[in-house]
């Protein structure tokens, strides 16, 4: 040091005043973020929320002015309706009942699905790619492929299982437990895990595996719900929604 005590003298400036402390993986706080891209929440957020509220009220009001909520005859314990259906969002469960033992189809499988959905953040816990639709281009392709797969396989499964029910054909020849529980469970496992087998060849990330599993299950749930709600008529038989017999309309059940 020289006698000059002024801290920013030209001599001082030539001395090395920095050093490498540590190498850290990952982006710094500023990298890729650009300048602060935020605005005051007031009044923008207030305006958006008021308009959204008015919009939702308007949609509900228009719907309520044009379509009346259904009301059938007084409840009667002795007169079953045909078909007797659960509310539409449980029609997926009721449709499942048609394809195997109730404890498997309406209790075990739905419980497993709910547990899987709850566990998603703990199965895929890397913070990378959060806040981006489908995380990456490849993720988008995986989601699309999984949805298409379920869209084709699940209706086919429902149709084949209804038209050629293995459980009915071999009834009495093979044990009930095998026909109603083991066979449907195996079928479901194969159908759901088959696309994962394909994916495993491409070194998928945890995010991509959960995305495929979630998409297959989510799409299947929608298909089962739609089939149960729209395609099941009197006697819980399969019909086209527009070709229901006896003047039955699935929409009356809403």
């Amino acid at each position: 040091m020289n006698e000059n005590t002024e801290s920013f003298s030209p001599q001082d400036r030539q001395m090395k005043t920095y050093s490498l402390v540590e190498l850290v993986k990952g982006p710094t706080t500023m990298v890729d973020r650009g300048p602060d891209d935020s605005i005051f929440a007031f009044p923008m957020v207030a305006i958006l929320e008021i308009f959204l509220t008015l919009g939702v009220i308007l949609v509900l009001l228009l719907m309520s002015l044009t379509v009346n909520a259904p009301l059938e005859d007084l409840a009667n314990l002795y007169e079953t309706t045909d078909p007797a259906k659960a509310p539409w969002y449980f029609m997926g469960l009721q449709e499942m009942l048609e394809h195997g033992h109730p404890t498997l189809m309406a209790v075990a499988i739905p419980t497993l699905i709910v547990l899987f959905v709850i566990a998603i953040p703990y199965l895929d816990n890397s913070p990378a790619g959060a806040g981006i639709w489908f995380t990456s281009k490849r993720g988008k392709r995986i989601a699309l492929f999984s949805a298409l797969y379920a869209l084709i396989v699940m209706p086919l499964y429902i149709y084949l299982d209804t038209s050629f029910p293995i459980r009915e054909i071999y009834r009495g020849q093979l044990p009930d437990f095998f026909l109603n529980t083991v066979v449907p469970a195996l079928l479901m496992v194969v159908i759901v895990l088959l696309p994962l087998l394909v994916l495993s060849r491409y070194k998928p990330s945890a995010r991509e595996i959960t995305m495929m599993l979630f998409t297959v299950l989510f799409t299947s749930a929608i298909i089962f719900t739609l089939v149960g709600f729209l395609f099941r008529g009197p006697g819980f038989e399969l019909y086209w929604p527009w070709g229901m017999p006896e003047g039955y309309s699935p929409w009356d059940n809403l």
């Binding site: 957020v45 719907m63 509310p87 816990n125 990378a128 989601a143």
Partner: protein, 254 residues
């Protein structure tokens, strides 16, 4: 006129209501958000990314709005409804024919209930596909799944209340699924229905669940859900940084 506005807004009464000046400057715009109960859940400044409608689709906010509409219309319906097997149905008829806007009120509550189920399911799908469940938001995802289940429960318990054929048989079918639970299936159904069949006991219980227990739980969990959104740094869109797997691998060599 300007003088009048000034006198009013500077009066002690006005100042006791609003603890901020006219929000045309950064300080007062901040105070609007922090001193107002309706806004205090929001941050003072918000990133443009999280306001983008193509990101969130506004589904979370819409869920809260529909829940609000359902609470309001539900409260009005309670003025006319009696949870009694003998009187429930006739009071619904009375509501529809004699009460001004009674039919409209019931329609809005019914269609609102269906809308809420759909919006909440879509909200879950949005959060999943944008990867917004990733750390640190894991537990908020779990709260969200519980909220979805509670939404279904709220809709299901409300389904019985009109006590018509549709309600009666839908609940009979729906609760019979619960009986397939191994070991304790029958007792679960008995707890739900207060007996072995859908009757007055079931109607009383479903009413209590529908008007108080479930909505109370939903309201509390929504508060927790929104509070955690804030504590976890707002929507995941804000901290979305594009990280391609290649980029992460590249840092290893440096």
């Amino acid at each position: 006129m300007r003088k009048l506005i000034k006198t009013v807004t500077e009066s002690r009464v006005w100042r006791s209501f609003f603890r901020h000046g006219w929000p045309d400057n950064p300080l007062d715009r901040s105070l609007v958000m922090t001193t107002n109960i309706f806004f205090h859940l929001h941050p003072v400044k918000i990133s443009r990314k999280s306001l983008r409608s193509s990101y969130s689709l506004g589904l979370g906010v819409i869920s809260v709005i529909v829940f609000g509409i359902l609470s309001f219309t539900g409260l009005l319906l309670m003025f006319y409804y009696v949870p009694s097997v003998e009187r429930a149905y006739s009071y619904i008829l009375l509501l529809q024919t004699r009460v001004p806007f009674g039919q409209l009120l019931r329609n809005m509550h019914r269609w609102g209930a269906h809308l809420m189920v759909i919006v909440v399911v879509l909200h879950m799908a949005r959060v999943f596909y944008t990867g917004a469940y990733k750390p640190p938001r894991e537990f908020n995802w779990v709260i969200g799944v519980v909220l979805l289940i509670l939404t279904l429960a709220a809709s299901f318990t409300g389904y019985l209340l009109p006590w018509d054929q549709l309600a009666y048989w839908a609940i009979t079918v729906g609760t019979s699924v619960a009986a397939y639970e191994p070991l304790m299936g029958d007792s679960i159904r008995a707890i739900l229905l207060g007996g072995s069949e859908v009757g007055q006991e079931a109607l009383t219980r479903f009413y209590a669940f529908h008007i108080l227990i479930i909505p109370g739980a939903i309201a509390s969990l929504i508060s927790l859900h929104l509070w955690r959104v804030r504590k976890d740094g707002g929507l995941a869109a804000q901290d979305a940084v594009k990280i391609e797997p290649e980029a992460l691998q590249g840092t290893d060599n440096e």
